[in-house]
């Protein structure tokens, strides 16, 4: 008896958990196809497809994600490079700095930022402003990915070789080091995409119409369309994380982040 129970209990537990994770997705899918009464179809999807606002918000979020990745790399690549090459004794300090964003919840950070920065308008007044806090949100993950990536590179030899061939620091970093970091960079970039595409706190408080804000807006008016967008959002997260997993084969790179 105990044997049978011992064999079945684990399966039951995992099965129950599987149901918990699957049912909301299936229900959302079914809900997005509901057209009222007992009619089902793709009306919600068709209606969404013809919404220019959806595309605008989606493109805005994609653009912000790309800008966040670029700004994050510009700030971080030289620093992590130098930490690994010349001043490893400062590493504990920067490991600490890199986890600071965890200590300040996004809602608290946005409160502090709105109190501190009220201008200039060309910066604070455009959605591009969001890139600044997004780099902070992605900092722990980008820093870690870059650090792990550079740790396995022989930076000293690379530096000596390229400098003896007359390369400056810029050439060295962007034409020698970065091309050797594709895996680490890809992982960091995909994770940043997952974070930025779902980010709601900053965009909602600062009143910019990003993808997540648009989903919330649609949710006020049409539940079926909101369900369709929810599935789309899940698909985006899924693709990004699948990319992270595939690109990170060999190292443990499952990461956590995102807009809760």
């Amino acid at each position: 008896m105990r044997g049978v129970l011992g064999r079945l209990l684990p399966e039951a537990w995992l099965g129950l958990l599987g149901l918990y994770f699957l049912v909301p997705l299936l229900a959302t899918g079914a809900f997005s196809l509901w057209e009222g009464g007992s009619r089902y179809g793709f009306a919600a999807y068709v209606a969404l497809f013809h919404q220019p606002k959806l595309w605008q918000s989606l493109f805005l979020s994609v653009r912000l994600a790309v800008e966040t990745i670029l700004l994050g790399l510009i700030v971080l690549v030289p620093a992590v490079f130098w930490l690994n090459l010349r001043v490893p004794r400062l590493r504990p300090v920067f490991d600490f700095i890199s986890v600071l964003p965890f200590v300040v919840p996004p809602i608290a950070l946005v409160a502090g930022m709105t109190a501190l920065y009220t201008g200039p308008d060309w910066l604070v007044g455009t959605p591009n402003y969001l890139v600044i806090p997004y780099v902070i949100l992605a900092l722990p993950y980008t820093y870690r990915a870059l650090d792990l990536g550079m740790r396995v590179l022989d930076l000293r030899t690379m530096t000596e070789a390229s400098q003896s061939l007359g390369a400056g620091w810029g050439t060295l970093i962007f034409r020698v080091v970065v091309p050797n970091l594709t895996t680490a960079l890809l992982g960091a970039a995909l994770l940043t995409i997952a974070i930025v595409m779902g980010e709601f706190t900053f965009a909602n408080i600062l009143l910019f119409n990003t993808f997540a804000v648009y989903i919330n807006y649609v949710g006020q008016t049409s539940a079926t369309q909101a369900s369709a967008l929810t599935l789309l959002s899940f698909l985006i997260t899924w693709l990004a994380m699948l990319g992270v997993l595939v690109s990170g084969r060999g190292g443990r790179s499952v990461q956590i982040g995102g807009a809760r």
Binding site: F94, L109, L116, F200, T237, M241, I256
Partner: protein
């Protein structure tokens, strides 16, 4: 923070390479936080403890209590359900496919949160959700029985969707570090499975469990989008209160908002401090 650079190491170059990152973090993370500190303690006539003291009253106390209770429950559910799942998935008999499926799904689900997660649960268990309606048609009236998705228990149910996968991700390495030899040694000395877990397994895992609990607690505590989209103010939570202040929805002064945000940061600092301590204990059994 001040660093001294030896001339021989190229202090100027170090500043050029590392400086931008330091300046960025100071400008967009440290200074905004200090600004909250300054705001929370300053009134019309200089320093005041009025706003911080106000955290102990009425609505804000309720918000803090709700946030803390919710985070603790969501962390507990995540640690237990996710911990057991991680253990089961790692058992020898489990097919490799199941393991990689669970790992990849966990990575997705841990990142799937915010507004879409709230809507997924509204479509499922909301008052007109598919499961709610279906259960009603077979005679089980969830909302009649007192269940509500838009309540504290409802939020715990929703938070579990990203807490359990997070637990699986952070706890799996700790379980993998449990060496087979320890179990075999215990069994050779006559220990039962219960004895092994009581005297060997759990004590070794305890710091990992604690640090996972703290991580999950912090994760739930700073969540904003999910409760915002789900409860829209029915359940008072600190992040939602802060957002109400920032959007000018309520008659609360900006300084009180700053004090609330500061309170969140204080909780998170404590959380990360305990986390760092627990992480140090793990190191003892870790690499070998």
């Amino acid at each position: 923070m001040s660093f001294r650079f030896k001339a021989g190491e190229g202090g100027g170059l170090t500043l050029a390479f590392v400086g931008p990152l330091v300046v960025y973090v100071i400008a967009f993370l440290v200074l905004p936080t200090l600004m909250l500190l300054a705001e929370a303690f300053s009134g019309k006539h200089g320093l005041t403890l009025k706003y911080v003291a106000a955290l102990g009253q009425g609505q804000t106390v309720v918000a803090f209590r709700n946030s803390l209770v919710l985070s603790a429950l969501a962390a507990l559910v995540g640690v237990i359900a996710g911990g057991i799942a991680a253990y089961l998935v790692l058992r020898p008999g489990m097919p490799r496919g199941v393991r990689s499926l669970v790992t990849s799904f966990s990575a997705v689900a841990a990142n799937f949160a915010g507004v879409p997660l709230a809507f997924a649960f509204i479509a499922t268990l909301g008052s007109l959700g598919i499961i709610t309606v279906w259960l009603k048609s077979v005679g089980v009236d969830l909302y009649g029985m007192g269940f509500s998705l838009y309540s504290l228990p409802g939020l715990v149910l929703v938070y579990a969707y990203f807490q359990i996968p997070l637990m699986i991700i952070v706890f799996t390495p700790a379980l993998e570090a449990l060496r087979r030899e320890w179990r075999e040694a215990a069994e050779n000395l006559g220990a039962s499975a219960f004895d092994y877990w009581r005297h060997v397994g759990l004590p070794i895992l305890l710091p990992s469990l604690l640090s996972a609990f703290i991580l999950l607690f912090g994760n739930a505590f700073s969540a904003y989008a999910t409760p915002y989209a789900l409860t829209s103010g029915i359940v008072a939570l600190v992040p939602v209160e802060i957002s109400n202040v920032l959007s000018g929805n309520v008659m609360i002064s900006q300084q009180t908002g700053a004090a609330l945000a500061l309170g969140m940061i204080v909780v998170m600092v404590a959380v990360m401090g305990v986390y760092a301590l627990a992480a140090r204990r793990i190191g003892r059994w870790g690499r070998r």
